[in-house]
């Protein structure tokens, strides 16, 4: 059905990322007072690029034409080395591009309402456009180099957006933290990239058999070994993994992500749903062939194992921390970290398709959740503490419904929500993973906790009685903010249709096979088994939460019901397991100590020494004075004046005139020349 579109694809696809970038550039030169125009430009550009991306998605649905390379453009030529950049459209990138443009489009629309009263309204949209354009380049790139450049652009844009309220010191600090923390990962990414280039001589992913992800190069990469017998592909993949960890907020580089909540809520939605954190997962998914190049017969390789374990740990860790948070956005932030852990587990255990499905489903419901949370915050007059909310389902019923959809999708409510099926697919992959049951168990526990804390949050915010001292009456948001919520909620539900085991169309499509409807798939014992397990997990989590938080005290100052039971553990969780404190101690502490030591050295050692020296000199001076008085006076004066005269005549050579110096240099050179020829002769 997309046949007529095919011939124009190479030309049009460039416009998908370029349109938002151009919009960003145009907005950058617009005066600040044209904020409304800026928002229209940004949204319009993104709308166009969304249309193109959807068309491209349709194109890639055609069997046999699923992957198409956009001819590479030579970007720079150095000698006989040509750096090429190009685009690559396969189901994965098509789906990602469509998701990014679609979700971001609704976030843009939402922002028009949300940021309405902002002074730097136009600039905000400029940054948003830059952010989206960069992310689209990440997604569509056919070259690790272009991907890296866009990756860095994403980092830059996130820095500017997180620090959008740069007057707030916390926001500025959060922006710097995000930038520097991800930089640690980027460094590893960069080294990995250069290593790959050195080994293979190309950075293009697909290049008619010579690309990085094609079998010829992969064989040679897997064949070469480096320190400790590790295959080069594995080592480079590990480096890439570190980069992805930084971007996707995996433990231990996750600390920036919760702090990034300092940005405006639409930014949080964009970062957590469509653009920033998805980049890391997408990087691993895109370069998955490198990760698995050196795999053994079981399909295991060191980077994959590392990814699975890191993902599992992250998932559980973040879920635990989310339990004890009270800021509505922070809870969502930790849940993002947790869900990214899920995706990593899926990638590690070989389920690229499952990871992508979860990524896209997650994008929809997490954007939905964030925007709903923004709506709540907006309605409660910038209140973010869930302990001060409660009972909001009466005040803002529409937001409540959409929030409930998002929350149920995230918790994995069975059957009709996309989150359920995507999570189920991941757990399935983890369960049958030959590398052990660790990631599966971790992920299962995390899923349980997810259901628990999401229910807790929903209960605290929307149920019970209002607990808001000194906060004016909450109100429903305007429709420019609500419409995006409806659309995203619909997406969160409808996506479930394409990922069920009965008709696993999405996964088959990503993997390049044609999907078929198989009603029997649901009845397979292992699927039944897993669905049952998932159901149990969700029921347990929701039920436990319901039991504990059903009757929360109406006092906003009261302690959490769990706090008393868990005691110190609760506080530990509240502090996010002390990662920030750990970094404070492990990295910042020694530096501070070193500085302090030098300061002490200065104060305690050098200053007394100077004092001693000073007194000595004083004493000598007194003695000299006396002896001078006693008869050296005359001679000393003469000495002084003599010295002065010599000094004056010596200083005359330092005339300060450049030409005099030049002449001196020239004379010296002449003498050297004469010497040289004399010696030769």
């Amino acid at each position: 059905m997309a046949e007529p579109f095919h011939p124009y694809l190479p030309f049009l696809l460039w416009w998908v990322p370029l349109l938002p970038l151009i919009a960003g550039a145009v907005i950058a030169i617009l005066p600040n007072r044209y904020g409304r125009v800026a928002s229209q430009i940004a949204t319009g550009a993104l709308f166009l690029s969304c249309l193109i991306a959807l068309a491209a998605l349709l194109c890639s649905l055609t069997p046999g034409k699923m992957a198409s390379s956009i001819p590479a453009v030579t970007w720079l030529t150095f000698g006989d080395v040509a750096l090429q950049v190009g685009l690559w459209l396969d189901p994965m990138s098509a789906a990602m591009a469509a998701m990014v443009t679609f979700v971001a489009l609704w976030i843009f629309v939402y922002s028009i309402g949300y940021m309405e009263k902002e002074a730097r309204f136009g600039r905000f949209f400029g940054f948003l456009s830059l952010f989206c354009g960069a992310m689209l380049f990440v997604v569509l790139s056919n070259s690790l180099l272009l991907l890296f450049m866009a990756w860095e652009l994403v980092g830059l844009a996130s820095y500017m957006l997180i620090g959008f309220y740069f007057e707030k010191p916390t926001a500025a600090a959060a922006a710097q933290k995000a930038f520097i923390t991800t930089r640690v990962g980027d460094m590893a990414f960069f080294i990995g990239m250069i290593w790959l280039y050195r080994q293979s001589g190309t950075l293009l992913f697909y290049d008619n058999g010579n690309g990085l992800l094609e079998s010829g190069v992969l064989h040679s990469l897997a064949g070469a070994t480096t320190v400790g017998g590790l295959a080069v592909s594995s080592a480079a993949a590990l480096l890439l993994l570190v980069g992805a960890m930084g971007k996707s907020g995996q433990v231990p580089l996750h600390t920036w992500l919760p702090d990034a909540m300092e940005g405006p809520t639409p930014v949080s939605a964009l970062i957590h749903a469509a653009t920033m954190v998805a980049a890391g997962v997408f990087l691993v998914a895109r370069t998955h062939p490198i990760f698995s190049a050196a795999a053994d017969l079981n399909g295991l390789s060191l980077p994959l194992i590392a990814a699975a374990w890191i993902g599992g740990i992250t998932a559980l860790y973040a879920a635990l921390v989310a339990l004890a948070q009270t800021d509505i956005k922070r809870i969502l932030a930790y849940s993002t970290v947790s869900q990214l852990g899920f995706m990593m587990v899926a990638l590690g255990t070989g389920g690229v398709a499952a990871a992508m499905f979860h990524l896209i489903a997650h994008a929809f419901f997490k954007a939905l959740l964030f925007l709903s949370a923004g709506s709540v915050i907006h309605g409660c007059h910038e209140e973010q503490d869930i302990r001060r909310m409660g009972g909001l389902r009466h005040a803002m019923p529409k937001t409540f419904v959409t929030y409930a959809v998002g929350m149920m999708a995230l918790s994995g409510f069975p059957f009709v929500f996309s989150g359920f099926w995507s999570k189920e697919a991941i757990l399935h992959k983890a369960q049958i993973w030959p590398g052990g049951h660790g990631p599966f168990l971790l992920a299962g526990a995390a899923a349980l906790l997810t259901a628990f804390y999401m229910t807790r949050q929903a209960l605290l915010v929307f149920f019970g009685v209002p607990r808001r001292p000194g906060v004016a009456h909450p109100h429903e948001s305007p429709s420019v903010m609500l419409v995006p919520l409806y659309v995203l909620a619909a997406g969160a539900v409808l996506l479930a249709l394409v990922g069920t085991p009965v008709w696993p169309w999405f996964e088959e499509w990503i993997s390049g096979e044609s999907a078929r409807f198989d009603s029997g798939a649901l009845m397979k014992p292992e699927v039944m088994h897993l669905i049952g397990l998932s159901l149990a997990i969700v029921t347990l989590g929701v039920g436990a939460s319901w039991a504990i938080y059903r009757n929360v005290s109406s006092d906003s100052q009261a302690a959490d019901p769990l706090a008393g039971k868990l005691g110190g553990v609760w506080r530990f969780l509240e502090q996010a397991m002390g990662f920030d404190a750990l970094y404070e101690k492990a990295i910042i502490g020694p530096l501070a100590f070193f500085a302090g030591a030098i300061d002490a050295l200065e104060r305690q050692v050098f200053v007394p020494l100077m004092a001693v020296g000073e007194s000595c000199v004083k004493r000598i001076g007194r003695w000299t004075g006396v002896s001078d008085e006693k008869g050296l006076n005359d001679g000393f004066d003469r000495l002084c004046s003599g010295l002065q005269n010599r000094a004056v005549s010596a200083s005359r050579s330092q005339s300060g005139r450049p030409q005099a110096y030049l002449r001196a240099i020239g004379l010296g050179m002449s003498v050297l020349l004469i010497l040289y020829f004399w010696l030769i002769a």
């Binding site: 010596a650 200083s651 005359r652 050579s653 330092q654 005339s655 300060g656 005139r657 450049p658 030409q659 030049l662 002449r663 020239g666």
Partner: protein
């Protein structure tokens, strides 16, 4: 005397004269004049060797001269801008008066 050696001698004389101007002139603008002379001496050499030297299908000599001309224009613009700024501060373009760093 071949054309090549004639041009080489002219260019070395130009270079020497330019250097002499740089070393002895006091007006900063005239020092720039000397520098232009030296640059042109080099350019002359490039053209002379391209024309009378071994075959050169890639036009290396003229290309170098072209770039050299572009860069010389840039140098003159920046140099004169600096001289004018100095002039606005000190009311003089005499280099010997700009000796506040003297010993």
């Amino acid at each position: 005397m071949t054309p090549l050696s004639l041009l080489l001698i002219v260019s070395s004389l130009w270079f020497t004269l330019g250097l002499f101007a740089v070393l002895t002139r006091r007006n900063a603008i005239l020092i720039l004049v000397g520098i232009e002379l030296m640059l042109n001496a080099a350019n002359l050499n490039f053209i002379a060797f391209w024309r009378y030297g071994p075959p050169d299908p890639d036009f290396t000599g003229p290309l170098f001269v072209l770039f050299s001309i572009a860069i010389a224009a840039a140098e003159a613009a920046v140099g004169l801008a600096i001289i004018l700024m100095v002039f606005r501060h000190t009311r003089s373009t005499d280099l010997n008066r700009l000796d506040s760093l003297h010993g």
